[in-house]
Symmetry: C2
Subunit: 363 residues, 2 copies
DNA sequence: TGATCGGCTTGGAACGATCCAATCGTTGGT
DNA sequence: ACCAACGATTGGATCGTTCCAAGCCGATCA
């Protein structure tokens, strides 16, 4: 349930009592309660009921009590469509549904965002788009026809034109992901990837590792460069060497090859990886040469996917619930007070390392 | 955000072209076009415009043309909230967002459903619920306040009380998943698990395997029993023995143990598994004893998850796009013509085996 | 020619909420 | 005791669409 208000509903206690399978009364018979019917019952006017709900300070306590009772008895709930027609607010947030790469990250974000939005009286409405241009085209429809109040964007990248369009259309938005170029005139929430790899690196240093390599994606990826930077800074801070990083795209075969090359050339006693999939490549390469992850070479991944838990891989976990609830907060605040657009908030949240066998053996 | 893609900038083609970043006109100045403004422009009445859109056969061709032109010029789009207020139809479908088990199944279904619904002029709205009772409680809010037209349920199970409640409340629904007990007075779409394991079994028979075992979940799981039945039927049809099935919950360690036991006692030359995770247990057990999957023992999984593709595991894939589009069709048809509730459609779609190395070597 | 019929078209009412201006009832000041 | 000021409450208008019953018009038929 969503509402924080005193809604009765009841319906719970009573046993099914046999007979037709509805503890729920078929509301078809009873017409839906409206402001007027509540007002009639409480012996006040329509507007007073509305005030009780929206501007309680205008109503005398005694009156408010009577009205609340009537609301509860009738099971009244304001009708969104009517509110929306009058106020031009839908309390609907748009979210583009992505085919995630199998890491449950988007899934979990989606779940958390739905809950966080719910707490604020908003709902998440989905849309799809083949690419950014299609998404930009979809905004017209989403705004004009469905009247969404705001948008949550999830995969920012350099040269992202979406936020500029949204700003131009006056549609509030937040991004999960920082803007990777200058255009940051919108609020955003992101996870500090560099802090994550840095924490992983420090953990390895603390475990006695001295030759810590990095396996990342090809240079030029914003997210990837960020994660690399964290490792580089941490090894430098520890006074350790920073061997040339390995590079691979996110593909099992390719990752395995890159891991092999890295093990051969660098001969590290630990590898920090930019993703769990890359880390799996390292684990596989280690197994193939009869070496044991966590004992011979420590390995860490990134994103704390199911696979990581499955194979005992230490991994950096993103605080997705927090990200989602901040996204919900920022975008709804912007909806409810557009002046905030002038001073957008930016949040960089710290991830946290989940330690498993792959990094906890003796050095 | 996280994104596993190493996205190089690209920056696409078009230069920002300088100037303010909006090809979009700020509609703030021009008030939103309404039926009335379109009517004025076309020189007809409000209702005629509405008829052009909703009941075109009532309007003379020439008039319709004029009206259409006016609609196009003004960029008019009917306002959902107003329509909804009048017609009591929101064109919103509710879907409970689940924390899936890491197999991308729910993700892909979600994406496909959003697209399929879109094609029919509907949108998917998300909600969460801790358990079925909470979900049932949420219906009141979703229906009464958000006015959703229908619900798509995704994880049916024996003793599922949700559909009965929805029927009682008169809220249309479809389930992805057949009802596992008698109460099937609602349309549903499901994937024929038995057909899937049967196909996998026949494939193994065709590849020369003669001692085909089954590794499933503990008895009593509806989905699991179904998948087992397909295997049992197929081995029987081939005149092969049906060894006692192995049983394990969906846990890596446990699956490995069960696989070991199965290999020891049954000594099969092929194993059909009820899930990819169980199949991974078999693969792991094989590797540990120096035997090669696909050559010594053929293995198939179920669900065609990423992991299956990753390790070259043959797996039964569900036709999720089709499931989603049928779900969308069934629920929207029900919304638009409630009489169909008397004769609910039921669809059992056949999955398809994706053959990989784990089952394609010589017997 | 005038009444009848059907096809299009029309304006008014309704959906259920909020905004607004006006009203009512108290209280306080003089 | 009267008026002003203020707080609480009221009825009417409004958002943009669809439903409804009535109206207009030209064509058909007696």
């Amino acid at each position: 349930m969503t509402d924080a208000r005193p809604d009765v509903d009841a319906g719970t206690a009573g046993p099914p009592a046999g007979g037709p399978p509805d503890g729920v009364r078929p509301d078809v018979t009873h017409p839906r309660p409206t402001l007027d019917s509540v007002a009639a019952r409480a012996g006040v006017s329509r507007q007073t009921v509305s005030n009780v709900l929206n501007l309680p300070h205008l109503v005398r306590a005694e009156t408010a009590r009577r009205v609340s009772a009537a609301i509860a008895e009738l099971g009244y709930r304001p009708h969104r469509a009517a509110q929306q027609l009058r106020t031009r607010r839908s309390r609907l947030l748009g979210l583009r549904v992505e085919l995630s790469a199998g890491d449950k990250v988007f899934d979990r974000f989606l779940h958390a965002l739905t809950e966080a939005a719910d707490l604020r009286g908003y709902r998440v409405m989905l849309y799809t788009a083949g690419d950014d241009e299609a998404e930009i085209a979809a905004y017209t429809e989403l705004r004009g026809r469905w009247d969404i109040d705001g948008v949550v964007l999830t995969t920012t990248h350099p040269g992202d034109r979406r936020t500029a369009h949204l700003a131009g259309a006056g549609l509030p938005c937040v991004t999960f992901g920082r803007p990777w170029d200058d255009s940051d005139h919108h609020p955003w929430v992101d996870v500090d990837g560099a802090a994550g790899t840095a924490e992983a690196t420090r953990h390895l240093v603390g475990a006695g590792r001295r030759r810590i390599a990095f396996l990342g994606w090809p240079a030029g990826s914003a997210v990837g460069d960020d994660r690399l930077a964290g490792w580089a800074a941490a090894v430098a801070a520890a006074g350790l060497p920073a061997p040339e990083p390995g590079r691979s795209v996110n593909d099992p075969q390719e990752a395995r090859r890159a891991a092999d090359a890295l093990l051969d050339t660098v001969r590290p006693d630990a590898v920090v990886c930019a993703s769990d999939l890359l880390a799996l490549g390292v684990l596989s390469a280690l197994t193939a040469r009869g070496r044991i992850a966590g004992r011979d070479v420590a390995v860490t991944g990134f994103d704390d996917t199911d696979i990581a838990a499955l194979v005992g891989l230490s991994s950096v976990a993103q605080p997705l619930s927090e990200v989602a609830s901040e996204c919900a907060r920022l975008v709804t605040e912007l909806v409810e007070d557009p002046r905030r657009a002038d001073t957008p908030e930016r949040l960089l949240l710290a991830p946290r390392l989940v330690v498993r066998d792959s990094s906890s053996g003796p050095p």
